[in-house]
C-alpha cells in the first residue's frame, strides 16, 4: 500500500531529497509548485466565472450578507492557524524535534477537521433548510409588504425580488412538500396543536427571515455581523407569482451555484490535504516512520504538503470576502 501512496517521489531518480545544485531545488518542490500553478488556473477559471456571473446579475439577483459571518471568520482563523502550525511542524522536523513535529501536525489535522465539520455539519445544512422564492417582477407590487422596494428605491438601493425563510407549505406536487411539513411541525411547536397556516393548497407559505419581515427597517439595509434570527411572521405567495423557488441549493441562483462549487472544490482540497497529513503523521513507511531513516526526506514531504495546504488557505482568503462579505 505505502508503496503506491507517495506518488510525489521515487527512489530511483536523483534529486528526490537533495537539491540539484544549479536549480537549488529538489524535484518534488518544483513539482508541487507546478501543480499549484495549475491550481491557480483552476480556481482562476472559477473566479472568472464568479466575476462574469456577478457582473451579469441584474440588480436584486445577487444576495449580500446571506452567509454567517462570525462562523466564516472563525473558519478563516482556523485555517490561518493551521497554516502556522504546519510551518511549525516542518520547522520542528528541520530542527530534528520529532515529538514537536507530531504535536504541531496533530493540531494542523484537527484544525482541518474542524474546518470541514463546520462546513458540513453547520454551514451547508443551514442552506439546505433555508428557502427562497423569487417573485416575478410583474407581481412584485403585490408583495411590497415583504420586499420593501419603494423604501429601497428611496434609499437608492438595489431592489429585492426574493422572499426567504423557512418553508411551511409548498404547493401540491412541489418537491419541497416534505421539508415544508417538517418545518410546519416545528413552527407550530409550542403554539399548540392544530395551528392553522394561512393560504391555500397552491401557495407557498414562508416563515420569514428578518429582512423580509421588516423590509422597511433601516437596520436591514446593511448586512449584519451577527445573523438575524428568523421572525415568526409568515408570508403567503401564490404559485403564479413565483419566478423560481427552491431551498438554498446550487440550483437556487447563480450566487449559490458559484458558492457551492467553489467552496465544495475548496473543501475537497482540504480533505485531500488532510489525507496527506494523516499519512505523514501516522507511522507509515513513507510517513512518520521515514524520520528514522531519512529525516530530511520526511521534512521535504511535509514541506510540499505544507505548500499545498498554504495554497488551500490562500484560496480561502479570497473565498471568504467574496462570498461572505462583499
Amino acid at each position: 500500500m505505502s508503496k503506491f501512496l507517495p506518488f510525489f517521489t521515487d527512489r530511483d531518480v536523483p534529486y528526490t531529497v537533495a537539491a540539484r545544485p544549479d536549480t537549488g531545488l529538489y524535484s518534488a518542490k518544483l513539482g508541487i509548485w507546478l501543480f499549484l500553478a495549475s491550481e491557480v488556473m483552476l480556481f482562476g477559471g472559477l473566479f472568472s466565472a464568479y466575476i462574469f456571473l456577478r457582473l451579469g446579475a441584474e440588480p436584486g439577483y445577487w444576495p449580500k450578507g446571506l452567509l454567517n459571518v462570525p462562523v466564516g471568520t472563525l473558519n478563516t482563523a482556523v485555517l490561518i492557524g493551521s497554516s502556522v502550525t504546519v510551518v511549525f511542524a516542518w520547522a520542528s522536523l528541520k530542527m530534528r524535534e520529532f515529538m514537536k513535529y507530531r504535536f504541531y501536525m496533530a493540531i494542523t489535522i484537527l484544525c482541518g477537521i474542524f474546518f470541514l465539520c463546520v462546513k458540513l455539519t453547520y454551514e451547508w445544512p443551514a442552506k439546505f433548510d433555508h428557502f427562497g422564492v423569487f417573485i416575478k417582477q410583474s407581481s412584485a407590487a403585490k408583495y411590497e409588504e415583504f420586499l420593501g422596494n419603494d423604501f429601497l428605491k428611496e434609499k437608492n438601493e438595489e431592489p429585492r425580488w426574493e422572499v426567504t425563510g423557512h418553508i411551511l407549505r409548498a404547493p401540491k406536487g412541489s418537491p419541497y412538500g416534505a421539508v415544508a411539513e417538517h418545518n410546519a411541525e416545528h413552527f407550530s411547536h409550542g403554539a399548540g396543536h392544530g395551528l392553522h397556516l394561512p393560504g391555500g393548497e397552491g401557495d407557498y407559505v414562508i416563515q420569514l427571515d428578518a429582512i423580509n419581515a421588516k423590509p422597511n427597517s433601516e437596520d436591514n439595509l446593511r448586512p449584519a455581523f451577527w445573523p438575524r434570527p428568523l421572525s415568526s411572521k409568515t408570508a403567503v405567495i401564490r404559485a403564479e407569482d413565483v419566478e423560481s423557488a427552491s431551498t438554498f441549493v446550487p440550483r437556487h441562483s447563480t450566487y449559490f451555484a458559484t458558492y457551492f462549487l467553489i467552496t465544495g472544490l475548496h473543501g475537497l482540497h482540504v480533505l485531500g490535504g488532510l489525507v496527506v497529513f494523516l499519512y505523514l503523521w501516522l507511522p507509515f513507511k513513507g510517513g512518520a516512520t521515514l524520520y528514522k531513516s531519512n529525516p530530511e526526506h520526511l521534512a521535504n514531504r511535509v514541506e510540499i504538503a505544507g505548500l499545498f495546504w498554504h495554497f488551500v488557505d490562500l484560496v480561502w482568503i479570497f473565498v471568504f470576502p467574496i462570498f461572505y462579505l462583499l
Binding site: K29, M41, I51, F52, G56, T76, V87, A91, R222
Partner: protein, 143 residues
C-alpha cells in the same frame, strides 16, 4: 568544489539554525493575518461610496494576506528563480483570463441586449442597453 548529492543530508548545512530563527517570524505573521482578517470583516461594514469600492478594498486586503502567506509561509521570498519564472507567467495568464473575459463581457456590439428577469416570459430582452432608438424595441411583460 565537491557537490553533495547525498540524500540524507540537508541541502544546506546551516538550515536548522536558519529555520529556528524564522519561527518567531511565523508567529508574528500569524497574529498579523488574524488582525487582517478582522480588518477585512470590519471594513466590509464600512460603506465606501459604492459596492465597487468596497470590493476593491476587500480584494486589496485579501491580496495583501495572500501575498504574506505565499511570501513567508510558502517561502516565496528567497525561492529559486526557476519557480518565480513560471509563477509570473501563471500570474500573467490568470490576469489575462480575468481581464479579457471581462473586456469581452463589457464590449459587445453596440445595441446588444441581454435577457432579464423582468422579461422572463420573454426569451429575449426587453430594454436594449445602448440602442439609439428605444421605442422600436419592445419592452417586456411589464406592458
Amino acid at each position: 568544489m565537491m557537490i553533495s548529492h547525498d540524500n540524507t543530508l540537508p541541502s544546506d548545512a546551516n538550515a536548522a539554525s536558519h529555520v529556528a530563527a524564522s519561527v518567531g517570524k511565523y508567529k508574528v505573521l500569524f497574529y498579523g493575518l488574524l488582525a487582517l482578517t478582522v480588518l477585512t470583516v470590519g471594513v466590509s461594514y464600512v460603506h465606501f461610496g459604492s459596492n465597487f469600492w468596497n470590493f476593491v478594498v476587500g480584494m486589496l486586503i485579501a491580496t495583501l494576506k495572500a501575498g504574506l502567506v505565499s511570501a513567508i509561509f510558502m517561502h516565496l521570498l528567497g525561492e529559486k528563480l526557476t519557480i518565480w519564472r513560471f509563477l509570473i507567467f501563471t500570474g500573467v495568464f490568470v490576469t489575462g483570463l480575468f481581464l479579457l473575459t471581462l473586456l469581452a463581457h463589457k464590449d459587445p456590439i453596440p445595441g446588444t441586449a441581454h435577457s432579464s428577469h423582468s422579461a422572463k416570459g420573454n426569451w429575449h430582452v426587453a430594454e436594449s442597453i445602448s440602442s439609439p432608438e428605444k421605442n422600436s424595441v419592445s419592452t417586456g411583460s411589464a406592458h
